[in-house]
Symmetry: C2
Subunit: 244 residues, 2 copies
DNA sequence: GCCTAGGTCCCGTAT
DNA sequence: ATACGGGGCCTAGGC
């Protein structure tokens, strides 16, 4: 396909809100949050209906260059080739794509209202614990979730059977040294605000060796719990709820 | 295009290491690190030559479902439609895609050896500081970079004009409270290992208000420096080097 | 706009 | 395999 024809496909696709797919040889230059040059090669260029842009190489999960939704696109043919200038104001950045050869250029009116449901996330762990605080510790009572202290958010604030405040930080993956530091920071903020030293419990499916030893020093407790288990508990409960 | 024809395109593309692009209506189920269901809708399916898989909706930067490179793909036609089972062992996960209608299915032999160069990253800031430590502070001498203490890495270890050890942590973006905690942690480790309290300098283009106040408390110093400036300094130096 | 925090983050790198 | 840290991370939510 020649460049003029491809430009026509792109322009009409852009104006009608279609998703555009161009396969061809191109190079690109990005300037903004960083600066990059991509030399000539065969790639897949996707321009979505919300004006998000992706340049994909033939390997790898990630696009090599891109723009998030909402850019302004200027397309024209110059002596260099089919030039697409994709820019936005905030942050100030521009992606300049030069297509020199087009193997295919098509646009599609895609209708996608399909629901997307995802589970076994940190959110499910939180829900399971709120529903059954005993998962963390018998006698625990939930006080507040997503409590904001300063600019920070504490996953769960609770009170234990002896009346002591408990901070709970949930992680869906193995807890790291950083996670331990995070909950200690929260505890410092809570103590400043409420005037009492809280207990600190890190809930995660596992904990790294270094994080475990740091948690000893900083008096952070660890409770094993996984997103998968949380999801199973919630599913069962939901299943039962149907019969109640 | 009918499903059988699309299957044929996919199979031949897979066996010849081509990049496959399917536009059509599909639904998908993922089970592994999390669990998700994507209901029927029009999407773009990409199977790259390294067997990375992407399902893109008509909007948004991110794929809604995906698999990183290296999955095993099983494709067949069932009563549900064209079913692709993409699985891997570690971590154990599977993405099952059911294509019910195909608008387009093509494969391309993409040749991409183009170099990709990126600048104005943290790495450039580090290089500029190593080259001219005065950027951080007059009289500073670099001792070591990427020093490993335990499992952690310290960006730059230096000595100031009075002979005191200095830890430098570089951030390409505005420094946060977490960044301050990180360098304090490094300092603790350094003190344990070397027996002397180091100075702590956070180098970043800016610092959040909360991070600034925390840095006062924890005796972390802040030095303003940006990836863009670092890149400009390095470019000039390189330009000069050509004439020396 | 800033700030926080999650993510099937991905990715490189070192042990 | 685990662990750590960067990324133009992106995205959502709050202020």
């Amino acid at each position: 396909m020649d460049l003029a024809e491809a430009l026509e496909k792109i322009m009409s696709g852009l104006s009608s809100g279609r998703t555009i797919i161009v396969v061809g040889s191109m190079h690109a230059h990005y300037a903004g949050r960083s600066t990059s040059w991509l030399a000539e090669g065969d790639r897949l260029l996707i321009i979505k209906s919300d004006k998000s842009i992706l340049i994909h190489r033939p390997t790898g999960y990630e696009p090599v260059n891109w723009q998030p939704p909402g850019v302004v696109i200027n397309a024209q043919i110059t002596e260099e080739g089919l030039v697409l200038e994709c820019s936005r104001k905030s942050p100030p950045e521009i992606l300049r794509i030069v297509i020199t050869e087009v193997y295919s250029a098509e646009s599609y009116r895609l209708v996608d209202n399909g629901e997307f449901i995802i589970h076994a996330r940190e959110e499910d762990m939180k829900a399971a614990i709120i529903n059954s605080p005993d998962i963390v510790e018998p006698g625990l009572r939930i006080v507040e979730t997503e409590r904001r202290i300063g600019d920070e958010y504490i996953d769960i604030l609770a009170v234990d059977s002896s009346g002591q405040i408990v901070i709970i930080e949930i992680k869906r993956k193995r807890a790291t040294r950083r996670d331990v530091e995070q909950i200690v920071d929260y505890a410092t903020q809570v103590e400043k605000e409420l005037g009492r030293k809280p207990r600190k419990i890190l809930v995660a499916p596992s904990i790294s060796k270094e994080a475990a030893s740091l948690s000893m020093v900083l008096r952070v407790e660890y409770k094993c719990f996984s997103p998968r288990l949380a999801y199973e508990i919630l599913s069962k409960k939901k299943g039962l709820d149907r019969f109640l």
